[in-house]
Structure formats: structure tokens, C-alpha cells
Subunit: 199 residues, 2 copies
């Protein structure tokens, strides 16, 4: 007794996604069988192809876009002196939503991670160096995640720009809003202490 | 700054699945953009349509199949005196894998759940009553999940078959293999005690 081939094939597709095991994939496949109509299934299939075919990194900043150059890079009202560097497009979106940065972005589309075989050459760095030739640029803000890979990547870029004459800064790491010191991990506390400022 | 339309559309599709929120849907959509090639995306889309179009409940037992009648129902070697009733096709598959039942199955494709608006009329019960007219059938084994809905459903079927002259049994609920009494929940312990047998 086995699932019909059509279900098995769908399960295999779902299992290719990060964090989806056999049980979850079965659950999703059954959801399709029981609750998805033919029109929606076709549209989902089209959406999959479109995402693969139409979405590419912006040639300037690396942000995922369906145009050649993304809307932020094309926007003449953005402050062109500051470029904020992030790991992924979604990081840029979160920062953009909080409306705390009026400059430009640069998306690396990854982090240096030797254990995953990802080196500096796999990141969107050439385009960054190209952009920095623009005399308007004054500051590069590194906004990597607070992780070993994030720190390695930030350090690498900092060294790369050592003699560029640009101001290279990085965002602060420390206690988050609402964070309880009694429950904080040692690394966060260490960063919070290390980054202390005169009151 | 927004994701390209192609990504948003894909995120919306993933969010329709049970237990997938915005963040997870974004993660899956990015997986597609970064790691899925055009051929795989097309095949995934076809698999979605096939699962919707080709997979239907077996007309006899309700097990999901791409044929009119499933392989178990068609198998002349199966013991036709016992019909084991389960909630979902996957339950039948798990039981079948453990090779403890040589009879037939009947899949309800759901459970009675008033809070979800699912009543007895939504379950695959008419076909069950039809099958039970077969004079070969002697026993109906109820193998619902150990949950309020499962118990309600089992009780409903038991009453439905009260005057059928058939032996209606249900599987035992109690401590699972390897289960530690010190960590067991009250309901499991109650069932285990209630179902005790003379040593």
C-alpha cells in the first residue's frame, strides 16, 4: 500500500525545501489533494516558474528584483552618501520598513561561511567595490547578522575597504528592546558591555 | 521597497498551507529563487496539478488513489471479514507498513469536529454502510486517533452499527512502547488503567 505516484512526486518536491521532512511534506501534499483546486494549483506552478525566471539581483545593489535596477537604486531622493550593507534582501526590507535609513543598500546575497563552502568570491562584493568609486559615497554601514559568519563577513569587508578613505561603520550589537538581562545569553551580554557608552 | 511581484505571489501560495506563516513562506520563496532551476519549478507545478487532478478517494474504501478502486480493495488475498476504519489515508499506510492487519481498510477522510463544522455527513460513511452489506464482513475495527474528535467519531460509528449484528471493536489506548509512566500525561494513564487486563 503506497501513496499514488502523483502524491509521492509532490512529497519529493516539498522535501527539497529547507526544514521540511517527510512528515511535513506528506501533510502539505495532502493539503493540496484535499484543499487546492485545479486553478490554484496551476497558478502556484506559474508562480514557481516566474520566481525562478523573473527574479534576479539588481545589477547595482544585489537586491532581488524583477527589473534590471531596483526601485531604491533608481530613486533620486535617496541619500547617496551612505550605503548600508546587508546579507539578504529580506534584511533590507525589514530595515526599510522601520524607516531608519534614507541611504542606499547593498545586498551581499550570502555570508562568508567556510563550513558551507561559501567564500568572499561567492558574495556580491565586486559590484560593491564598483559602487564605492562614486565620489558621492562617504560611509559604508555594515549590518551583518550577529553570528560568526556575519562577524567574519563584516571583518572581511572592513579590511577590504581599509585604504579606501571611506568611513566604515557597523551597527551596534547588544540587548534588544524589551530584552531581559536575566534571560540574555552570554554573547549578547558581552557585546552589550563591550559596546557601552559614556552616560 | 517590496519584494518583486513574482516573490509576493509565491509567498501567498505557501501561506495557504497549514502551519506556514509569513516568515516561513518567505524562506521557501527565497529557496525557490536561489536554489530551484526552471525545470524543477515546472515539474513541481505539474506535480501540483497531477495531485489535484489524478488523486481521488477509492470508491470502495476512501483511500487516496489514482485508480477507481485501490490496490488493497482489489487484492483477492486480503481477509474480507475484517474492516479497519481509520481517519486518514496516512493512518492506513502506517498500519499497513507494520504488517499487523491482513483485512481491508476504510478511510473516513476526516473526523467529526463540530468546532470545525465537520459533521458525520462530511465523512466517508455511506460507502462504509454499503460495504457492510457484504455477508463476508464480520468485524469492524475502529482505529481513530486518541483525541476528542476521534472518540466522538468512534462512538458515532459504534452507535450507527448497534443493530447491524457486526462485531464492532476499537483499538486499545494506553502506554506506548518505551513510554515512561513518570512522564505520561493523565489521559494516557487513565486509558491505560481503564483498559487493564487480568494478568
Amino acid at each position: 500500500m503506497r501513496y499514488p505516484a502523483a502524491i509521492e512526486r509532490l512529497i519529493e518536491h516539498f522535501m527539497r525545501f529547507p526544514g521540511i521532512g517527510r512528515k511535513t511534506a506528506e501533510r502539505y501534499a495532502f493539503h493540496v489533494v484535499h484543499h487546492v483546486d485545479a486553478e490554484t494549483a496551476t497558478d502556484f506552478g506559474t508562480a514557481l516558474r516566474r520566481a525562478v525566471d523573473d527574479v534576479k539581483p539588481c545589477v547595482t545593489c544585489g537586491f532581488l528584483t524583477d527589473k534590471t535596477t531596483c526601485d531604491i537604486c533608481k530613486n533620486p531622493d535617496r541619500e547617496r552618501r551612505k550605503i548600508l550593507v546587508v546579507e539578504e534582501s529580506k534584511d533590507a526590507i525589514v530595515i526599510e520598513k522601520s524607516a531608519i535609513h534614507d541611504g542606499l543598500y547593498h545586498v551581499l546575497n550570502g555570508v562568508i561561511s567556510p563550513s558551507d563552502g561559501v567564500g568572499p568570491e561567492d558574495l556580491n562584493l565586486k559590484a560593491l567595490l564598483e559602487r564605492l568609486k562614486d565620489p558621492d559615497v562617504e560611509e559604508v554601514i555594515l549590518a551583518m547578522n550577529f553570528s560568526e559568519e556575519g562577524e567574519t563577513t563584516a571583518m572581511y569587508i572592513d579590511r577590504l575597504l581599509e585604504n579606501s578613505g571611506l568611513l566604515v561603520t557597523r551597527i551596534a550589537y547588544g540587548m534588544p528592546a524589551g530584552g531581559n538581562i536575566g534571560y540574555a545569553d552570554a554573547l549578547t551580554l558581552a557585546k552589550a558591555l563591550e559596546g557601552r557608552k559614556k552616560y
